[in-house]
Amino acid sequence: MSEPLERRSIISGVGQSAIGRRLFRDDLELTCDAALAAIADAGLCPDDIDGIGAYPGPIQGGPGFAGPGVYEVQDTLGIDVRWHLSGLEGPAQISPIIHAALAVAAGLCRHALVYRTVTEATAAADTGRRGIGAGSAEISGFAAFFIPFGAMSAANWLALYARRHMYEFGTKKEHLGAVAITARRHAGLNPAAVYRTPMSMDEYLGARMISDPFGLYDCDVPVDGSTAVIVSSVEAARDLPHPAVRFNAVGTALRARPLWDQWGDITTMAARDAAAHLWSRTDLKPADVDTAQLYDGFSFLTLAWLEALGFCKKGESGPFVEDGRIALGGALPLNTWGGQLSGGRLHGFGFVAEAVRQLRGECGARQVPDCEVAVVGVGGGPVAGCMLLTK
């Protein structure tokens, strides 16, 4: 195979806004905070940016879900672009990062700003977190087969996946707990994380149930915040104030019915296909990975990603996460910023920011020593995308 095109692109900058519960800030302003921070981090000025991408664009999602669209941000920052893209469909929330890398490699643009912004905490401040379709008299589209049955959250849909995994492989609630407790311990080393107090297994198991087997601490914590990255041409690497982070390979495949309820083997997710695609585009192997940043919208998703990426065999992710293997100091430090479970639901981009910072060696107390290869896997159920990043 000729060299994958994504290797002609790098991540040159990363920036984040304030991150927290109920900031009561304008989502466009948060986005600009993150964008300007990322642009400065890359040693650029706003006029250098000639591409813009975002997930998911200005859709009708849940309260605080969508964030501003790319045209609002382009207009607010006063920039001209040659590449622009947003959308809900694609290889998970990192879709615009992957496609920015390809757009830059193809010469459509040279420096692309890509962001994800959420204000789900502030949006739910008055009402509490409601289910999808709550208050609607009528439901259309694919959700019509879920919402009328009270399956009003991805927590419900993915609990079905987790329960089946437990049934087929003997995966235990304590295995889900190991993911959540490790994430919390790592969050204690990240000043920007929202939940930083260490959590015991008893506290984890004692949390109120949401959708069996998921309790409160198996579900990520809604926050407000924006994360932005700058994707640049590899030719820009030598001019950067920080080490460039390289795209070694991306994975975007989807090889089963892309429906939550009709997905064939629900002990696996689309992660399986995206991960296989990623490894087919590189000579690196799972054993070369120094840190894994794997989606944890629900704790089970991280287990599924570990299996998908081949860090353990199918069905063996539960035992794999026992005994500290995924903690800092273990063989595969995982979600070192606290993940979305404790760091906050930045919806995929928090994992990217952490991978970049780990590869640059900027993570202080939570730094993985000699970190040269990081994998980022994002998405759940029939949605997945992944990237292998290197120094």
């Binding site: 289910g131 087969f145 399956a151 069996d212």
Partner: protein
Amino acid sequence: MATFFRPLPALEPRTAAFWRACRAGRLEFTRCVPCRYLIHPSRPICPKCRGRSLDQVTVSGRARLHSYTVNHQAWYPGQAVPYVIGLVELVEQPELRLMTNIINCPIDCVQIGMALRVVFENLSDEVALPLFEPDART
């Protein structure tokens, strides 16, 4: 099981037949005539053979529980919980599944693999939901 407000599935061009059949007491799917594949949700072309000769067939309503979750979270103020969400696999075709509720069964007795049969809950003059209960016959 406690009941709660169920929004109506919209009667859209490709789904109306499914919901109306439920209201008439039948579980009905689009079927590819040449290859016999049951297509859910309904599509205008068979995903298996790309054929366009399709009809509607009534199935037995018998199923096995593929997975389930007990939902404890009230997704809007006043919603009655807990309730059981099931993913059931119909006996007519592997991986032909419906997300539904398991009713008329103590929560402690819900088990993956249990035999189920469909029962319909009417929501309007045109729409009923297919729910599932334990099937003692099998």
